[in-house]
């Protein structure tokens, strides 16, 4: 006889709790469900970086193995940062709970979890600040919104500060300009003081520290990868481009995120850079030492970001270049545009970037001496310096995703659009409240594009995907263009889930497909070896 199984009563499984949770947010500890968090940082990586408390641990375990006296470490760390960063102190004191930010976070929008409201995410840390650093909190405790720092609070910080992508959409709507990204940044710094990071961040940071890039590619691998792209370019165009590496005396140093050197569709964007620079006859060099534009140190601590960023100016100095061009990346540009000059500038040994083709002086980079590939390219197009055949992209209906950091962090809004309009005949904008300064995050920025948190990524990216769906249904959009390596890594999965049939491309890949190079053979395929419209043999 089969064992007796206790079946649920009718309606039991479907029974939904209609009441709000019985516990206040302060009394609701975090649950760690697989698929919704990233693995913890590895012992070996923290050892490499000399970061505190290296040990094997898992967020799913009860015991996170934090060191004895961790509370003091965190509180002292907070005190230090409150005195060092005026912004942090102000953000802790100034919020009036108006709620303008509350429904602007993509994680909140997709989950309805109030702790994903930016205001409450900041409150996670503000409540502790109140308890230990304000009189009202010390005396009135919970009445004043203060609470003790304990292990549940620490776990909650870890969960929610690694659920914020530092996209800063909320800060656009905050009447006080509170920058939640900075609160998250400080939160992560504090967590790092007791050895709590995620593997997807500390792994790349350790790689970058030892090998110069997040993927840990050594010089021969970088050169080898680019060589194989050069072979592919020759197959497609009949032209052999000749990139150089670590060449002293070149005019320009080119630095891109290492994601462009490995994996699709990053490599096609990289092929685009190679083709464009060859066509222009640009006197530029790659570096196998400063081989990473991105900076996951930025998601660890200010000191770590500074440490990893150092190599960019150092390499520019060593090679004796005049200025630097950077590839398509997101957070890389927030670091370069807003922090690099403070950390390691002024770069007096470099010159203000001047386009050798158009003579345009990039005044905006007068201080940093580093310009974005999109501003460089848009300037070429404005001056009619490129021979373009946009019909090669006629099979594509393109929309453009503003990556959070270039758009909100440095105001790079129109340049990529100008390029796309020049190289594609079919371009459609997503709705107004989902683009430009108000763009929705891809859902995987700030080091959260690991694969173990796939559900979390699908949630975070839902508002973005929902806007793509709109243009997909209305205009038949089938290609999502962007200027960010994390977008290129994360979007293919997001599109497969939410909007099947929409591909992902870097803007420079679109450009290279339309670029008519001097002396090229008649192209029959694009950079992905797919038949060009009207040119393929298989049609």
């Amino acid at each position: 006889m089969a064992p007796k199984v206790k079946l649920p009563k009718p309606g039991e499984l479907a029974k939904i709790e209609f009441k709000t949770p019985a516990t206040d947010w302060m009394d609701t500890p975090v649950e760690f469900k697989p698929g919704t968090f990233c693995w913890g940082s590895k012992e070996k990586d923290l050892l490499t970086l000399g970061l505190p408390n290296p040990r094997q641990w898992s967020p799913a375990d009860e015991d996170w193995k934090v060191p004895e006296g961790w509370e003091t470490t965190i509180l002292e760390g907070m005190a230090e940062r409150l005195s060092k960063y005026r912004s942090f102190k102000i953000f802790m004191d100034i919020c009036v709970r108006c709620g303008a930010c509350a429904d602007k976070c993509h994680f909140y929008i997709a989950t309805g979890d109030p702790k994903n409201m930016p205001v409450l995410r900041a409150e996670l840390i503000r409540s502790v600040y109140k308890k230990y650093f304000t009189k009202s909190g010390k005396f009135l405790g919970r009445l004043a919104g203060a609470r003790e720092l304990d292990m549940d609070v620490l776990k909650e910080w870890w969960s929610y500060f690694f659920q914020c992508t530092e996209c800063r959409r909320c800060s656009v709507f905050c009447p006080y300009g509170i920058d939640q990204a900075e609160v998250t940044i400080i939160g992560r710094e504090l967590l790092n003081l007791v050895g709590l990071n995620i593997d997807w961040i500390s792994g790349p940071v350790a790689n970058c520290y030892m090998k110069g890039n997040h993927l840990g590619l050594e010089p021969h691998a970088i050169a080898g990868n680019i060589e194989s792209m050069v072979d592919d370019i020759e197959d497609i165009t009949g032209i052999r481009v000749n990139p150089t590496f670590n060449r002293k005396g070149a005019e320009i140093l080119f630095i891109t995120p290492s994601g462009d050197l490995l994996g699709e569709p990053g490599i096609q964007t990289c092929m685009g850079y190679l083709m464009l620079f060859h066509e222009l006859g640009l006197d530029y060099t790659w570096s196998t030492y400063a081989s990473e534009g991105g900076n996951f140190g930025f998601f660890t601590s200010n000191d770590m970001a500074k440490r990893l960023n150092y190599k960019i100016y150092a390499e520019a100095k060593r090679l004796g270049v005049k200025y630097i061009i950077g590839g398509e990346c997101g957070h890389m540009w927030r670091v370069l545009n807003q922090y690099m000059d403070t950390w390691h500038g002024p770069a007096d040994f470099l010159e203000v970037p001047v386009s050798p083709i158009t003579g345009t002086v990039f005044e905006n980079a007068r201080s940093t001496k580093m310009i974005h590939i999109s501003e460089f390219t848009a300037d070429l197009i404005k001056h009619n310096k490129l021979n373009l055949d946009p019909t090669r992209n006629d099979h594509l209906k393109v929309t453009f995703h503003d990556s959070c950091n270039p758009s909100r962090g440095m105001g790079l809004l129109d340049e990529p659009r100008e390029i796309i309009k020049a190289v594609c005949n079919n371009f459609y904008e997503m709705p107004e409240n989902t683009i430009r300064e108000k763009t929705f995050c891809c859902g995987a920025g700030s080091g959260l594009n690991a694969s173990e948190n796939m559900e979390q990524r699908m949630r975070g990216g839902f508002p973005r995907a929902n806007a793509v769906k709109y243009v997909q249904e209305k205009h038949g959009v089938n290609m999502l263009a962007n200027i960010c390596a994390v977008d290129r890594a994360h979007f293919p999965a997001l599109m497969d889930y939410w909007n099947p049939g929409v591909g992902v491309t870097g803007v420079t890949e679109l450009l290279a497909n339309a670029l008519v190079m001097k002396g090229e053979k008649e192209r029959t395929t694009n950079l992905r070896f797919e038949d060009l419209p009207g040119k393929g043999g298989n049609e």
Binding site: L13, A14, I16, A110, G263, R459, Y470, A489, Y497
Partner: protein, 181 residues
């Protein structure tokens, strides 16, 4: 389907839709501020919008009595969202069955008065069909989450494996040749 039943149903359609939406939103007890229900902008509140449009679409198809395959896309849109949120499978799918209760409660009096129990049973069978389809969809998207992870790994490593001669593509022609055999 019974004409009388359809008539009664049509009269109460908007009440049924809104109760169904209420029940679905109630599965987000943390949403104290009523954001999912109250924010009507489809881009500012994609979850609420997807549910509202989905519910209306499904009810429209059910009441027309036509092939319910037309409602599959609405069902898909809703389930896609629920499949990646913090729900057990039962809780993610409960909304389909809640429709039964809502319809019985909303139309109970009229059904008794008009003696059209058979029509109600017919209608409930349709909801059962809907539920079975919903299971397929739910599992499909749960499986896809794991596929996305493996696909991503392939995208990241494909060029390396190819370069190391550890992987080679089968040209199209060979494929066609083999297919013909």
């Amino acid at each position: 389907m019974d004409v009388k039943f359809i008539g009664i149903f049509n009269e109460k359609k908007s009440a049924i839709s809104s109760r169904w939406l209420d029940a679905m939103i109630a599965s987000y007890p943390n949403d104290n501020s009523g954001f999912l229900m109250n924010q009507k902008d489809r881009f500012a509140n994609p979850v609420g919008y997807t549910f509202t449009i989905g519910i209306e679409g499904i009810i429209e198809v059910l009441v027309k009595g036509e092939d319910f395959s037309e409602s599959v896309s609405f069902l898909e849109d809703i389930i896609k969202v629920r499949a990646i949120q913090d729900f057990t499978p039962a809780k993610a799918m409960a909304f389909v069955f809640q429709l039964k209760t809502i319809v019985r409660e909303e139309l109970g009096k009229e059904i008794r008065q008009n003696q059209i129990y058979d029509a109600l049973l017919d209608f409930e069978s349709k909801i059962d069909d809907l539920a079975l389809t919903a299971f397929d969809i739910y599992v499909k998207y749960r499986e896809q989450i794991y596929e996305l992870r493996t696909d991503e790994l392939k995208r990241m490593t494909f060029s390396l494996l190819k370069k190391a001669n550890l992987m080679s593509e089968i040209p199209d022609q060979e494929f066609e040749h083999k297919d013909q055999k």
